[in-house]
Symmetry: C2
Subunit: 345 residues, 2 copies
């Protein structure tokens, strides 16, 4: 089942067989058909390693992401995989568990696999050593979810999205709004969303919104339960930096006997598919997770085609949409207080 076997069986040279698959036009139709037939009969499949070695192009895209346990990334990877396949690429995923050192290791490992390009979700593009390496290796790459002016990124406008959420909550009468987040230091997304939150609260003339930082996802429920218990003058709405956190926030509330949304409104961010099927359904900022993956691959494919790296200026801002959900109710402060100016936006 090597090219040579096919050549022999078809009574032509290996070069001709190669041409039949890589440049059919250069081969006379009868010869071409003959070869194709023989190849089919012998179940011939070109050896990818040999092709890669010879052409120096592997037709493989490396994918680095934090974890598949967060549906956001699983959905995105699905988009990446599908689109890559459409373009004739395979993918090799590697997960980092949010560990920066693992980002480097993953990039190194994938480079060794001589991938043609990479899609990655890093903790923070500004400080990622993995990215320096990539750039140095002149390997085309695109970041997903990250957002940085010096790197090619596909992501939503986190700050704008959060601002919309805050305005919406305010419009519904909420005044005491707090934000729930994982460690801010852990990712640029968390920082940007928090940034947007702080700014939007200010613009709405509200006191600085409190930040509830949950260090470990595993302890989120306990952490949040304690917070909600401790606070005397409880927030009427919690904006969560991601859907997984939002789901846990709902649980924490319920464990204290608080009804969502009656006693507490909860908003998420990410738009994981499950969210809409939950009870109460999760109000959230929906990112087009699958499409983000798709777009990353498209950019990458174009770059790999032309042999040029993807430029930072090729970055795309993916559209986000707010999805209404039953987890959001009217604020207790529906006292007819005057609407703040920011609502006119």
């Amino acid at each position: 089942m090597s090219i040579e076997a096919v050549a022999r069986e078809a009574g032509v040279s290996v070069a001709t067989v190669s041409r039949v698959f890589n440049a059919p036009d250069l081969v006379r139709a009868p010869t071409r058909e003959k070869v194709r037939q023989v190849a089919l009969r012998l179940h011939y499949r070109a050896n990818t390693s040999a092709q890669t070695l010879r052409t120096q192009r592997s037709k493989v895209i490396g994918v680095v992401l934090p974890t598949l346990r967060n549906p956001v990334f699983a959905e995105c990877l699905e988009g990446i995989a599908t689109t890559a396949a459409e373009h004739g690429y395979s993918i090799i995923p590697a997960t980092t568990s949010y560990r920066v050192e693992d980002e480097e290791a993953a990039v190194a490992s994938l480079s060794g696999r001589s991938v043609d390009g990479m899609v990655l979700v890093v903790a923070n593009p500004a400080t990622s050593p993995a990215l320096r390496r990539l750039a140095a290796a002149k390997l085309p790459y695109v970041l997903a979810y990250n957002r940085h002016r010096r790197h090619p990124c596909v992501s939503v406008d986190n700050e704008a999205a959060v601002a919309e959420v805050v305005r919406l909550l305010v419009a519904r009468g909420h005044r005491r709004i707090a934000m729930v987040s994982g460690e801010l230091a852990a990712s640029d997304r968390a920082q940007q969303r928090h940034e947007g939150f702080v700014r939007a609260m200010r613009e709405c003339g509200l006191p600085d919104g409190e930040l509830i930082e949950v260090p470990f996802m595993d302890h989120a429920v306990r952490h949040l339960t304690e917070f909600l218990q401790r606070r005397g003058h409880r927030p009427t709405a919690l904006f969560c930096s991601n859907d997984l956190l939002a789901i846990r926030t709902v649980r924490a509330a319920s464990q204290l006997g608080l009804q969502v949304p009656h006693d507490l409104s909860v908003v998420g961010f990410d738009g994981i598919e499950l969210g809409g099927d939950l009870t109460p359904s999760l109000g959230t900022v929906v990112q087009p997770n699958r499409e983000i993956g798709v777009e990353c691959v498209r950019l990458l494919a174009a770059a790999m085609q032309s042999g040029t790296p993807v430029a930072a200026s090729d970055s795309r801002t993916a559209p986000h949409v707010f999805r209404e959900g039953e987890s959001i109710g009217p604020g207790a402060a529906a006292t007819g207080a005057p609407l703040t100016p920011c609502l006119s936006n």
Copy 2:
């Protein structure tokens, strides 16, 4: 950064450089160190394609699964990826969207990538043409979640697990129990779980449990809503063939004003991580999804090491555990009716 460059720079032959990385013991310590240092300085990374071409082993495991949008498979893939990495393998995943023809395509594509082995989740091992090919190609493979005596599988005992669920529901007073499933024809798991359901109901002396078949996951909620509405004498408990379905069942109930678990108990199957954080938390049969992936890779690694295919007799039954959840309440029929014999098991 080829092996030759390193050899030249270190003043040794390429063979020595190769040995330093593949059989260090064969090289005198000083030489070894010298080479290592040079390699490090030159950022040398062995070219995987060349290695593959030469050794005929790619150190890659192909993974075929239905979708990453079901957390079950995402969790499993995470286990596969991690364990593969520990064994020095990369993975190339391919998704089939539950389409049998895509299973074949995926296997073909991965074979072309000359993977050393494969982990797959197929619709039905008994009828899968993809598996025939694999066996013919003498490529070692392991099935995850599938269960078939003629193939090496890692899976839980679906029938036994379902029987436990039924008994538990009966013990809590439920008598009218129905099962919710996707298309039975779509997978052996669905069939086995249904099989177990029917048998357990019978063993408990209950009338044949009704089956609610939901053809498309997307319409699950609507479908279930209609069912619950239509039925006069409604079941008091619904056993769902998987967690995604269970979540949607809860939603359908809630849309009709039914309280879970007060008016209806819902049990799932799969044990996706999210389930425990939902409100109400999801009672379900927990499969060790990550571990299933881990075990598949272990079996595969052993086989690839020894050059022998994985035998059907190497199949493992992964332990399942029932996770209690708030979605399960007492049956309305807590009338003090005598417990059925099957409860003594």
